[in-house]
């Protein structure tokens, strides 16, 4: 984990209010797993940093790819950065997805909205290990969908939209319900209500969930980002013990 001024090498709109931001710097060498995140000082106007997942990276080119959606002040401020500008980033943070797969295993990936990006690098690594991937991505509407064709390189992709403008109408859980057969393992990322529904639906299947919570420090020191856990300590910090947890580690409320 380092604090570094990364250089913007690309910044494009990929869907409604959704941007792909490619940053260059040495930080990339510290990435250990898909699903880790960076903590960004979006501008001097925002007092707190903003956590954004690493969607992909390239060691040779020393680049990190982020995909973010404009939600409020901080993500709005991010849109102003242009190629060549530098951005104050802390990272890579947290523990990502354990890339577990034997050839031929059926693995399910489900992501909702801005929960989709961290699954992208994961998909590639699971695919390279020979897993058979079913990928269900949920978006508000066709206008908000992104990364669909990129995911198709690695498995069967099903799109769910709230309004049915792309793929099937419904939530990712409706998508899961429509699947035949069972999964050896699943990985999911999205808003907590979605995670809860997915975990419930998939019962005892081995699962890994990536969580979101408002953060202060982003490195484990302030206890802003906790989630109750089943162990003796009673809590996990999403920024450093997570954001990815085994589905039985934490209590989703």
């Amino acid at each position: 984990m380092i604090r570094e001024d990364l250089t913007v090498v690309d910044h494009t709109l990929v869907a409604e209010d959704t941007y792909q931001l490619i940053l260059c710097g040495r930080m990339v060498h510290d990435i250990k797993q898909p699903g880790q995140f960076v903590h960004i000082r979006t501008s001097t106007d925002e007092y707190l940093r903003r956590p954004v997942s690493i969607s992909d990276y390239n060691i040779d080119e020393e680049t990190i790819t982020l995909l973010y959606k404009v939600i409020g002040k901080g993500t709005k401020a991010l849109t102003a950065y242009q190629i060549g500008d530098s951005l104050d980033v802390l990272g890579p943070g947290g523990r990502g997805f354990p890339v577990k797969a034997r050839p031929g295993e059926n693995v399910l990936l489900t992501g909702g909205g801005i929960g989709v990006p961290p699954l992208y690098r994961l998909a590639r690594e699971l695919y390279e290990k020979g897993a058979d991937l079913t990928i269900i991505l949920g978006f508000q509407s066709i206008r908000h969908a992104f990364l669909k064709s990129e995911f198709q390189q690695y498995g069967s992709v099903y799109i769910m939209t709230d309004d049915g403008t792309s793929g099937n109408k419904g939530f990712v859980t409706d998508g899961i319900a429509g699947m035949s057969g069972s999964f050896d393992r699943y990985y999911t990322c999205g808003p907590t209500p979605m995670l809860k529904a997915v975990v419930k639906q998939l019962g005892d299947t081995e699962g890994y969930i990536s969580m979101e919570e408002r953060m202060g420090c982003g490195i484990g020191a302030c206890f802003a980002c906790v989630v109750p856990s089943h162990d003796e300590k009673g809590y996990k910090r999403i920024c450093c013990d997570g954001p990815v947890f085994h589905h039985k580690e934490v209590v989703l409320t």
Binding site: M1, R3, R41, E46, Y47, L48, R49, K73, L90, E213, R214, M215, G216, C217, G218, I219, G220, A221, C222, F223, A224, C225, V226, V227, P228, K233, G234, Y235, C240, T253
Partner: protein, 310 residues
Amino acid sequence: MNTMIQLPGLSLKNPIMPASGCFGFGREYARFYPLAELGAVIMKAATGEKRYGNPTPRVAESTGGMLNAIGLQNPGVESIIQEEIPFLKAQQVPIIANVAGSTVEEYVEVAEKISSHVDALELNISCPNVKEGGVQFGMDPVLAEDVTRRVVQVSRVPVYVKLSPNVSDIVVMAKAAERGGASGLSMINTLTAMRIDPSSRKPVLSNGTGGLSGAALKPVSIRMIHQVYPKVAIPIIGMGGIETAADIVEYLLAGASAVAVGSANFKNPLICRELVEQLPETLHHYGFQSVEEAVGGAHRESVEAGLLRP
């Protein structure tokens, strides 16, 4: 430049320390720089038993600052003594334990247990984010004096009482702590505040209120330290919104003998180290030969002296 400062129980090589609750127990920041560079480390609050704290969201932004309602989450005093203090000791940096509780008995218990393992106590009677104890003790001079006296009685190290800004008269509270036997004051904790999200129509923090910290708070803290300094004989550790070395000089001039840096660690995890590096040249720039010389300077400054300085 002499940046050393001697305070009861604390021999500091510089006056800069991370503030309680903004630095955990040091482990995370130790990955960024050696903690031995710091004047001291103030640990996250310790209570008798482990506490989970408040539901999330626990932090929010506000203009020039942030709100938090962590609610004193910590692993409990025993665990801190066994798991955390040994790590900090190994870093060779003076340690201040932040002591909290719901009852006087709990404060006393925590102080008794932890005081033989650290260099000083910071008695937290000013946490606005817990239902019982916390700031209740910090808003009533009688209760404040009493809890201070009982903690001082059992503590093996000097006690610094951490005051709350949520009071009508900060001088009354400072004097109560001094009467109770405090060796120093720590000023200030956060100011109770709230933000409401117009979309959800509810407070942003699940606890409703939280404590305001950061630059927005600084002029309130400076005012309170400036008020208290001439009225007490014990030293003050100043805090609230420190982000630059010039801010530290402002705190010293108001009357602080040392300072703590809180929320700014979240913006920049290297801030304390950078301030330690910048302080000597900043003091020099403003015409000081030592930290000591700047302490309380605003109270001694004459018009004539000001004219003589460029």
